[in-house]
Subunit: 340 residues, 2 copies
DNA sequence: GTTGAAATGAGGGGCGTACCTCAATTAGCG
DNA sequence: CGCTAATTGAGGTACGCCCCTCATTTCAAC
């Protein structure tokens, strides 16, 4: 039988009321008494029954995911996983909501954050490009008692709050290592394609990529990043131009989470050499491309894990507990045809 | 406010007692009445409060991990993660125990399984080489109401029960792909080192490895598997002999979860070419070897994830629920220096 | 209609904890 | 010593559900 508060009271030689006061940090307990209870906890190995506590409290966890309004297949995957988690965690009194806002409108994001009510929301995971407005709004939310979390792409890690997502510099470096090793002894140029290089994430990936290539693969020369701006026609044009002016392209690195546009552009552009092609994020499209051989490797982060991790961290914060660090580290996954 | 059983009773137009009968599959309820309650559940989106239910039931989950008596750093990691999970899940009334048995003694394993009492144990995760005795014992356990799970290395997947672990053929294939790509255009031989090839896991990995190499990398020739039998002196001898008789070794694949012995053997044996070296499982040793460059890649499965996944699956089975498939799939991880 | 079985209702006690009130005891201070 | 403040105890109610008992109603077969 597991020890209960009754056992604690007995062993500590105090009343249930006092045990309760100590367990819940209520005031008006003598220092000595607190210690008596704490050593009884030690002695018995008492662990509070979370179910009973939450039941008594009537505790419901209400979390929000703030996501971009528009997005690619990766975002779709996230939405699906949030939905899935919502069902799975419902029995544990965890409810998750999704709010979507144009991601390039930091003012609107900040405004929305300002309207959140601690009575209605316990915590929020925010996926938004770095901006002072958002960062400030997050800080103010914390002050008002709503936990915040940078989700995937985010505010700089120095905010104090946690962040869920991969280290993009390391992800870029991983892509760089694969690019270098996969292209073997061949010399030539490497094309880097991004939707935009405005974002911190893209910059970090590029940085990591360049570091590895420059340090260990002098046979490769990384070209300036091409930006598609999410425009297919433009993507095809810039890719075509690149192939034309660089006949010695041996590698292509697609920074963007939506690899579809660039890959289609590459497929339609005439080129040779079978360049090594690496992209980010597992989506139905990249998965198919891996199988077919259009892609040689995909650097990914598990969307389901990202979502559940964010939820667990917010829950732990709400419970004033430490999350299990080892469980909440998002791995930089490397997907090949064989381990997809 | 979340709907409770009271709301269900009201909406369905029945009493609390009947709601309870339906929710817990108790007999003596008319088909029509069951339907009334079920549609009320639908209508309200009722989800049973798992905390309250478990509290009322006095439910405690007691699981056991059956692990080998002797093992390497990977086993140590597993033990640590089990301990960690035990603390983390304690508040949710989940208790985990570890029992260790010499893994090559299927009779003793079967005997131990036969002694388990459903009053004391709800489920067990078993890490043991495939054997008819163990498989039968598992089936009998299931009949007696104790859930069983093949853990990491296991009984063939056709047992009916779940299994937690990676697809070893795919893991071997992944290693093969990396070996092929990393060795570039070079031609030569590939050394395969295992502790033993007796186990199903080793065979499957080798199979997957060979398939990929044979299909896509005709420049590589995979040598017969060397077996160290867990003996360091022997490991060094066979590695040395291999290097001596095959001057053109361009790759080394260590099947064994303990890469330490083989790697040390390789380090002490004179060789050239800087062969591509790939091993399995992340341990302090393989991690260091990745950083130092002694290893080019590691194929791994996350020990913490394995442990928690096993626990969650056993819990779900105990609750008669479906586990979240996407969360319980163990990924075949590829670790490079950059994403360790 | 009678009868027996099946179905349903009403109600209570309990799980371990939170949170509240009020009384009782103790400690500290002048 | 008396007085106030600090500390502690006792007890109750609640949370949502499980599980049990006993009575009552409904139904179907005769």
């Amino acid at each position: 039988m597991r020890p209960t508060t009754k056992d604690l009271a007995r062993v500590a030689g105090v009343s249930l009321a006092t045990v309760d006061r100590v367990l819940n940090d209520r005031p008006g307990v003598h220092r000595k008494t607190v210690e008596k209870v704490n050593s009884a906890i030690e002695e018995l190995g008492f662990v509070r029954n979370a179910s009973a506590a939450n039941l008594a409290r009537g505790k419901i966890y209400r979390f929000v995911f703030l996501l971009p309004k528009t997005g690619d297949q990766f975002l779709g995957e996230l939405l699906y996983r949030i939905d899935e988690a919502n069902s799975a965690f419902s029995a544990e009194m965890i409810h998750v909501d999704v709010t979507r806002i144009p991601e390039n409108d930091p003012h609107r994001i900040a405004a929305l954050l300002a309207t959140l009510d601690p009575e209605t929301v316990d915590g929020i995971a925010i996926m938004a490009p770095e901006s002072p407005q958002v960062r400030d709004a997050m800080l103010r939310l914390e002050e008002r008692g709503i936990d915040t979390l940078s989700f995937i792409s985010g505010q700089s890690r120095t905010t104090g709050g946690d962040a869920v997502g991969i280290d993009n510099r390391a992800a870029g470096a991983t892509a760089g290592r694969l690019m270098g090793r996969f292209s073997g002894a061949r010399s030539g140029k490497v094309l880097v394609i991004a939707e935009t290089m405005q974002s911190r994430d893209s910059l970090e990936r590029r940085l990591g990529f360049d570091q590895v290539i420059n340090a260990d693969f002098p046979n490769l020369q990384v070209l300036p990043s091409l930006e598609t701006w999410g425009n297919q026609a433009r993507a095809e044009k810039i890719v075509q131009t690149s192939f034309a002016s660089h006949p010695d392209i041996v590698g292509i690195y697609i920074l963007t989470s939506e690899a579809r546009g660039p890959l289609q552009a590459i497929a339609t552009a005439p080129h040779e050499n079978g360049p090594v092609t690496i992209a980010h994020e597992r989506t139905p499209f990249t998965e198919a491309a891996l199988i077919s051989g259009e892609l040689d490797a995909v650097i990914a982060q598990n969307p389901g894990h990202l979502v559940r991790s964010a939820i667990r961290i917010l829950k732990a914060r709400s419970d004033q507990k430490e999350p299990l660090a080892s469980q909440e580290t998002i791995r930089i996954e490397i997907l090949l045809k064989e381990n997809t």
